[in-house]
Structure formats: C-alpha cells, structure tokens
C-alpha cells in the first residue's frame, strides 16, 4: 500500500441472505489510474461498487479514501468527499431537461464549496455551468440536445449524462458501471477519447466493463472477480493469459479469440 493509493479496499465481504456476493475482496487504486474490474455476470462487480459508494452496507471490511475510512458512510457523504459513481441502469431525472439534470449535483455541498466546474471564482449561473459540462462530455452546445427532456434522449446521451452528473461534483474518483454497454460501435469509439481525457484531467477511474477490447485500451490494471472472489489482478495482457481467468470468464478456449 503505497502513498500514491487514492482508494484502498480491504477484505470487503457482503452476503445477501445465503448468497455470498463478495468474499474478502481487496485491491487498491493509484491516483490518476484507470482500473478495470471484469468478471462474468453475477460475479459481484456492481455489488462491489455499491459497497464502496455506500449504497449497500457491507458486512465486513474497510474502504480507505486518501487514507481515511469511508466505509458505511451515507452515499451522499461519500459523493461529497469526491468518490462518485455512474449507474449501470441509467438514472437520469426523466421529467427534467438534460441541463437541469445537472443543476441538482451542482447544488451539492461539494460543488458549492469547490466553486463549480474547473475551479475558482463564483459558481455563477448553475444552468450555464451545466451546459458547459454537457459540452465537455459531448453534447453539442448549439443544438437542441442539452435542452431536451432526459426521457427523449437516446442511450448514448444518457450514458454521457451519467458521467456528467459525476463531473458536476468535480470528483477525484469516478466508479463507472458499464458505461460502454448498450452503445453502438461508433458511440463507443467516441466514448474512449472521453475516458482518456478524464484521466488526463487527473481523475481516477474504476471501470466495470464487459467490452474488454475498449477497456484494455484505457485501463492500466485489471482485476478479475468470479463468484464474489478476486481471481487475479495485473496488467491486461498478463490477466488474459491467466488459465483461471480464461476458464472462469471466457470458457476454456483461447481468450484472444474473444477480445
């Protein structure tokens, strides 16, 4: 555990009744890194994100953020510390236009304290700031898109809106729950540079992904979960050579056929 570690997860366990969703999962993420979490369906990836961000109370284990314990804090407290998340099933405010969706996170104590998007000065007009963030994330500023109701936006924009909600909090860490899933190849192709840009801005990203090819383009390290337990961790190439990973995640055939 070096000083560079921004997030440390230590022996986290969670059971739903008789189902052991997570068992003694430990890992740590360095500042500015893109860290991937992969594993078959039902292996506990989303549960892990829920535990870290406080949406589910873990049974045992600890989560340290910048060396301080955040385990079992309320989700809004954790978000205010700078650890934000996206939801796999998008959760926009469907009855509000896209830009008004962002006014809500901009009202949070953290956004008020840090003075809005890109530092310094007054928060100013929240709606202007939210349009700025939407442009940053790929909404065309001079089109109708930012002003459309969230319920009429296609999946690609809703996935971006999830990320935009995190960005409005000026986060240090974003936990992305399958931001590529449900997108077309061209939409993914435009998301990848976005992820790279966020990393350049110094944001640490933890990404759950099934789209391995795209994940491996951006992730520096990958952890594999299977049945709630950590199988292995390492750089993508090493992980995919691992015999246990092939069997658990991809079946027993050659992994490289699938990515």
């Amino acid at each position: 555990m070096s000083e560079e570690d921004i997030l440390q997860v230590i022996d986290v366990s969670k059971a739903f009744g008789g189902v052991q969703a997570l068992l003694n999962v430990s890992f740590s993420v360095q500042k500015g890194e893109v860290f991937g979490i992969i594993g078959p369906n039902g292996s506990g990836k989303t549960t892990l994100i829920n535990c870290i961000t406080g949406f589910i109370k873990m049974n045992s284990g600890r989560v340290l953020y910048k060396g301080k314990e955040i385990s079992n804090k309320a989700p809004n407290q954790i978000a205010n510390l700078g650890v934000t998340r996206t939801f796999q099933i998008m959760r926009p405010y469907y009855s509000l236009p896209a830009y008004k969706n962002l006014v809500i996170p901009l009202l949070s104590p953290r956004a008020r304290r840090t003075g809005g998007w890109r530092g310094g000065g007054k928060l100013g007009d929240r709606e202007t700031v939210s349009i700025d963030i939407l442009e940053e994330i790929g909404f065309e500023r001079d089109s109708f898109v930012p002003y459309k109701l969230a319920s009429s936006l296609p999946t690609g924009y809703l996935k971006r809106l999830e990320l935009a909600r995190c960005l409005a909090l000026r986060p240090d860490v974003i936990l992305c729950d399958e931001v590529f899933s449900g997108l077309s190849m061209s939409e993914i192709a435009s998301m990848v540079p976005l992820i790279e840009k966020l990393q350049m801005d110094g944001i640490t990203l933890i990404m759950i992904e099934h789209r391995l090819r795209e994940l491996f383009r951006v992730a520096s390290r990958v952890m594999v979960l299977n049945f709630g337990q950590k199988l292995t961790e390492g750089i993508p190439e090493e992980v995919m050579q691992d015999e246990r990973v092939r069997e658990a995640y991809l079946g027993s055939e050659k992994a490289s056929d699938y990515i």
């Binding site: 949406f55 809004n76 978000a79 959760r91 009855s95 809500i104 949070s108 929240r126 909600r165 409005a168």
Partner: protein, 342 residues
Amino acid sequence: MAANLTERPERRKERIDRGIKVRTEGIYAVSSLQEVSYLILPRLVLIAGLLILPLLMPNLYWNSVISTVGIYALLALGFDFLAHYVGLVSLGGAFFIGVGGYTAAILNKSLGLPPALTIPMATLGGAIICTLLLLPALPLRGVYFAIVTLMYPLALKEIIVALNVLGGTDGILGVASFPNRWVEQYLILFIVIFALFGLRRLVNEDIGLVFRGVKDNDQAVRASGLSITLYKAIAVFIASGLGSLAGAYLSHKHMWSGISQFALDFSVIPIAATVIGGGGTLVGPVLGCLFLVPISEFLRAFGPLRIVFYSVILMAFIMFRSEGVMVYAQRKYHQFQRWVKV
C-alpha cells in the same frame, strides 16, 4: 397486414403548441398586449374569481362554506406538492389539521394570544411537530409512507380520549374568533392564493428541482451528494405547515378545537380534489376543492344518500377524465388541434 392497410384512417389529429406558448415558455413576454394577456389573463381570472366569491354568496351559511373550501384547498395543495413534486403520498391531512388546530387553541386559551399571533405560531410549531414525528417514516415510499401518515391522527385521537388530556372528548372550548366574517373569509382566500403562487414558484426554483429529482430518482440524488432525507423533511415541513395553518384557522373559525379535527375527511377529500382538478398542476386541486366542497353541501339534503352521489361523481371523473380538469384545460389552452391527411 393487408387488412390493416385498407383500414388505415385517412386523417389523424395533430396537436400543435400555439405560437405564443412556444415563445413565452420561461421568458417574459412584453412584446405585445396579446402575449402579455395570454400569460396573465388565466391567473387574473383565478385571483379575481376567488376574491369576488364572498360577495356573491347569498347567506351566512354559504359564506362559511368558502372558509371550508379554503381549508381543504390548503390541504390539497400540500398533498399535490408532496405527491407530484416530491413523490411522497401523504394521507396526513387530518394529522396536520389536528396538530395545527390544537396548537392554536392551546396558545390562545392558556397564553391569551390573539389569532394574529397564534396562527403564525401554530403554523410554524405544527410544521415542526409534524415533521419531527414523520422523520422516522421519511425513508419509506409510496403506500408505506401513506400508512404512517394515516396512523398518527388515529393514534393521537385515541390518546386524547383515553388520557382525557387537552379537553378529552369535549375539546378546547372558547377559542377566540375572528373580528368579522370578512376578515375570516378574505384571510383564508389570500392565504390560498399566496400558497398557490408560492408553491408554483418554489417547484421551479433550484430547491424545487431537487424535490422533483427525489421523485424521479432518489438514488441519483444521493449519488449527486445531496441527502434525500433532508430534502424530504423540508418538503414535509412545507406541506405540514400549510396543513397546520389550515388547522389553526379552523380552530379560530369554529372557536373550538376537538378530536373531530383528526377526522379522516381532512385526509381523503384533498386527494379526491386532486384527482378531479388534475394532479401536478397545483391550481387543479384548488379548483377541485371549489367544486367538491359545495357539491357535498348541496348533497346534504339527501342525508345518508349523500355519500352515494359523491362516490358516483368521483368514479365518473376517474373513469372519463382521469387526467383531471386542469391538465385537460391547460392542454386546450396551450395547444390547438387540427386534422391532417396521413
């Protein structure tokens, strides 16, 4: 498929926003008298209509009905606000009325304060008491929250009777009344108008966006770094404040506060008014009360059959105009329809 093609209608209805509506959404239109009146006229008609009501009433009895309409209108506003802007279904009308009513009566009787002081104090105090008592129920949603809000008035009523406190079954008698009937009626009408336009403004402010966010997607609000319990508590405070205000007014109007202020009418009629008036419009529930309360007075002549007629009217509305009068009226006002060739 072939059969479908031959039966396809040759024309369909098309709904288009009126030009003025398109231009005036969210900005102030001062360009022409027509556009200004398009915005202001409906509001002006409503305000003038409400203020003229007391002058039109034939006798004292009907004047007192106006006050009753006002009381139910405040409860209906609170219900509509909680249900359609915060996502909390509240059956707490009786609870708010009872707490506000008893608070005002106690302040008036034991401290000798005049209505000008007891009503604001009971509004604030009642809102604080109701919010604190409902605090444990705030994580609940939908019907579960409704059950808790329904339980409190029932429980408080039984406690007052069983322990014989606060006047027991007799209630608190001899509460000060208003100076005259004009003060009595215009007070409640002004309060209703103020509450209506205040809430309309509130739901479009920043805090109103958070309320609507809580209704749409409370988990996303938590992920945005905001405490949903805090915002739900603020919303309940506002709604219970309106209810307590109505209760305090009721105590001074009847010069009496008693267990009948915990009657379930106060919980149920506001919901019926919201259904008739149109949920989510805020003005709809007020109009709903303006329709339902006098109807219920007219039907008094039928004795026990009253409730049958009442139910038939409600059912007819739910089956044939479930969106409510105001949703329908607003659509007609803002859009026009025309037939177009397919």
